[in-house]
């Protein structure tokens, strides 16, 4: 088995050793339930609150009860969307986008079964939303807007600052939620700044920021009405039932500290350079290659590339054999037999949508990993094209059959 070359940081990140270290005592000697009322427990509770206020500071939030610890970003998203609608029984309309994570899409679709209406905003070929369409979607009874900050597949960043402002100007009662799972740690977010002050709810997940899986945050701006989603004890200011996951909370606070430092260090700029280098080098070697979302603001660590006339799973299979961990939007890698909903919404031609690769870089990506990918990929693509009945081997371009399907010649 060859060495693992991990290039899938948007799927998950490894736990930073410093994060793991601060967690360990809470698995061992500091095991008390922070809800108990003796000193042993109250000391642990104090550590939890210290962690909370540290996170609070990094997020630019003002009040402890604005930061709720949850089990995952998916839980946070469900809480924000469902909890808001429950708090406003007369609001029956949701606005979101076609390219959200299933955590949002499926929640909206489920609510539609209960009589709610959802507007799924379209994106253009570059993956961008239309402000006009957004404006006209705002309705009398719009209860919540849920728009992701950055897309998990393409890295395309939505202008949530602008959109939340537009929404509040139209009707201050409409609440705005953003799924910041992918942007957290990659873009500096200060919820107290003018840019983000109209955001009412924000969801994020620990395992995308070098903390463990199984911990998330729901930021809920003070005053934003929200019904409880997970009922139970009076934990988390009576907003979320369930015993606090102490070690993970402590770890998450450390992760916030680390990525805040990292954001100041210019690491993201370096990742963007590495990403641009990958795209440039692959372009040199591989004809008929498309970078999806490249014309708009993107996360610095993400590139989504597709290739005409071949299928993604057979690329991934070979990359996997060589030790690369990369994701694909190909239908064959999922159970659904449908290519990525994000790429289809961006009108990526069906001739290349089947072959998309998502490469996402992170804290531990080194130039050697990237060089190996740049070296390996062109041969894999070239060989699969040789096998493809849609490729003209002689002229190294799509053949006449592929052109019929709309391939550029």
């Amino acid at each position: 088995m060859s060495k693992t070359i991990y290039l899938d940081y948007n799927a998950t990140t490894p736990i930073d050793p410093a994060v793991l270290e601060v967690m360990l005592p809470y698995f061992k000697e500091l095991y008390a339930n922070p809800s108990s009322k003796y000193k042993f427990a109250m000391d642990v509770a104090a550590d939890v609150e210290k962690a909370r206020s540290s996170i609070l500071k990094h997020l630019g939030a003002s009040h402890p009860e604005e930061v709720l610890f949850t089990g995952s970003a998916t839980e946070s998203i469900n809480h924000a969307i469902r909890g808001t609608l429950k708090a406003f029984p007369n609001k029956k309309h949701i606005i979101t986008t076609m390219v959200e994570h299933p955590a949002v899409l499926e929640t909206c679709k489920d609510l539609e079964r209960d009589g709610y209406r959802t507007t799924f905003l379209k994106v253009d070929d570059n993956g961008e939303l239309s402000e006009d369409e957004f404006r006209s979607a705002l309705a009398e009874d719009t209860g919540i807007i849920s728009i992701m900050h950055a897309n998990n597949e393409t890295g395309v960043v939505f202008p949530i600052d602008k959109l939340s402002k537009i929404a509040k100007e139209k009707n201050p009662e409409i609440l705005f939620h953003t799924d910041a799972t992918q942007s957290m740690g990659k873009i500096h977010i200060n919820l107290n700044s003018d840019d983000y002050k109209h955001i009412d709810f924000l969801s994020m997940s620990g395992h995308k920021v070098y903390a463990p899986k199984g911990i998330g945050i729901l930021f809920t701006r003070k005053g934003a009405r929200l019904r409880k989603f997970i009922t139970g004890g009076h934990h988390e200011f009576n907003k979320r039932g369930g015993t606090l996951n102490v070690p993970f909370i402590i770890g998450l606070a450390k992760a916030f500290e680390l990525f805040t430092e990292e954001l100041k260090s210019g690491k993201q700029k370096k990742l963007a350079q590495t990403r641009d280098h990958i795209e440039k080098e692959l372009r040199k070697e591989i004809p008929y290659l498309h970078v999806n979302g490249e014309k708009t603001a993107r996360l610095s660590n993400t590139t989504n590339i597709s290739f005409d006339c071949i299928e993604g799973e057979s690329i991934l299979f070979q990359l996997d054999k060589m030790g690369f961990c990369i994701s694909s939007g190909s239908a064959c890698t999922s159970g659904s037999l449908e290519p990525s909903h994000v790429l289809r919404a961006m009108h990526v031609p069906i001739t290349s949508a089947h072959s998309s690769l998502r490469i996402s870089l992170g804290r531990y990506t080194n130039s050697d990993d990237v060089d190996q990918l740049i070296k390996a990929l062109p041969a894999i693509i070239a060989r699969l094209r040789e096998i493809s009945p849609f490729w003209d081997k002689k002229n190294n371009k799509p053949n006449s059959v592929a052109v019929q399907y709309g391939c550029q010649n």
Binding site: S314, K321, E386, I387, P389, Q404, G406
Partner: protein, 310 residues
């Protein structure tokens, strides 16, 4: 999804991409039989060609001696193509005998395929059949004299082996056995448990499809109940069909670079032609016909019939 491919499948795929000497990649020049199945839109396609050793007196005794393929698709689609060529070359089949091969031969050769990938083996077999028909045409062999009906209906006389779910390559017998064994009661049970009808869905409602099989198993005659109420005039129906087409259906197809053109609306019958990307996609045409019909039946009238013309 994890790749739970057999070792054999993985090996054949790697043989193909490494162009090892036992791989069958390529196209035979001036082939005696050529068949194509699948499309770029749908995610897999194969071009299959073979060469025969000719029997000058009796062309029906030609023997396939060489087979090659070009395949666009996932790991298992390429491995299934390799399997097909290997089976054909090893068996010294006459083209007519090759028609007796089924997707199960490919699946067995590969030591099994994940359920979601069964369609890869079906694709290979369909390309083989197409190539045999091409050979018969070129060699002037009348296949009907050998008890073979044309096109995809070759299993017609073996009702149980008829493929019901074409996307997943599941036969009537298989679906029926599974319904009985697993005590599946509803269409949803069938779709969710064995994935029959889970892709394009066209086999759910059609004659002899999943609903009919369920009814047969549980002894009901038919679920399609007639209601005389709410009869619309033919004019109303035609108007509504037009409205739903232009508002709900055509915009979706156009977004994908395809489309349909209305040829005529006669009472409850809509005659149409495919345009753009849909036109060149063989698999799309039946899916679109079904989908359009389903939407129109839901929104206009349950008796609407959609007919594609060329």
């Amino acid at each position: 999804m994890a790749w739970n491919y057999s070792e054999k499948t993985k090996k054949l795929f790697m043989d193909a991409v490494n162009n090892s000497e036992n791989a069958h990649i390529g196209e035979i020049k001036d082939p005696d039989g050529e068949g194509f199945h699948g499309s770029l839109v749908c995610g897999d396609a194969i071009k299959f060609t073979f060469k025969v050793e000719k029997d000058d007196k009796k062309p029906e005794n030609d023997v396939i001696v060489k087979a090659k393929y070009l395949t666009f698709g996932c790991t298992s689609a390429i491995a299934a193509s390799e399997a097909l060529c290997a089976i054909i070359e090893k068996g010294k089949y006459t083209p007519i005998k090759a028609l007796a091969l089924t997707k199960d031969d490919i699946v067995t050769f590969l030591d099994g395929l994940p359920t979601q990938k069964i369609h890869c083996s079906v694709m290979g077999i369909e390309a083989l059949y197409a190539a045999v028909y091409d050979w018969a045409k070129k060699r002037g062999v009348d296949l009907t004299k050998f008890g073979i009906k044309n096109g995809c209906q070759r299993h017609e006389d073996e009702e149980d082996n008829a493929i019901v779910c074409r996307c997943m390559g599941m036969t009537r017998k298989y679906i029926m056995d599974q319904i009985k064994d697993l005590k599946l009661k509803t269409v949803d049970d069938v779709v969710n448990t064995i994935k029959a009808g889970s892709v394009c869905g066209s086999c759910i409602d059609e004659k002899g499809g999943i609903k009919d099989i369920l009814n047969e198993v549980y002894g009901k005659s038919s679920t399609r109940t007639e209601s005389a109420a709410q009869q619309k005039t033919p004019y109303q129906v035609a108007k509504e069909i037009e409205k739903v087409l232009s508002e709900d259906i055509i915009p979706i197809l156009e977004r994908d670079g395809g489309g349909i053109e209305i040829v005529e609306i006669r009472g409850h019958e809509l005659y149409f032609k495919l345009k753009g990307a849909c036109k060149v996609c063989h698999s799309a045409s039946s899916t679109i016909e079904y989908t359009v019909q389903k939407i129109l039946r839901d929104k206009v009238d349950k008796d609407v019939k959609v007919i594609q013309v060329n």
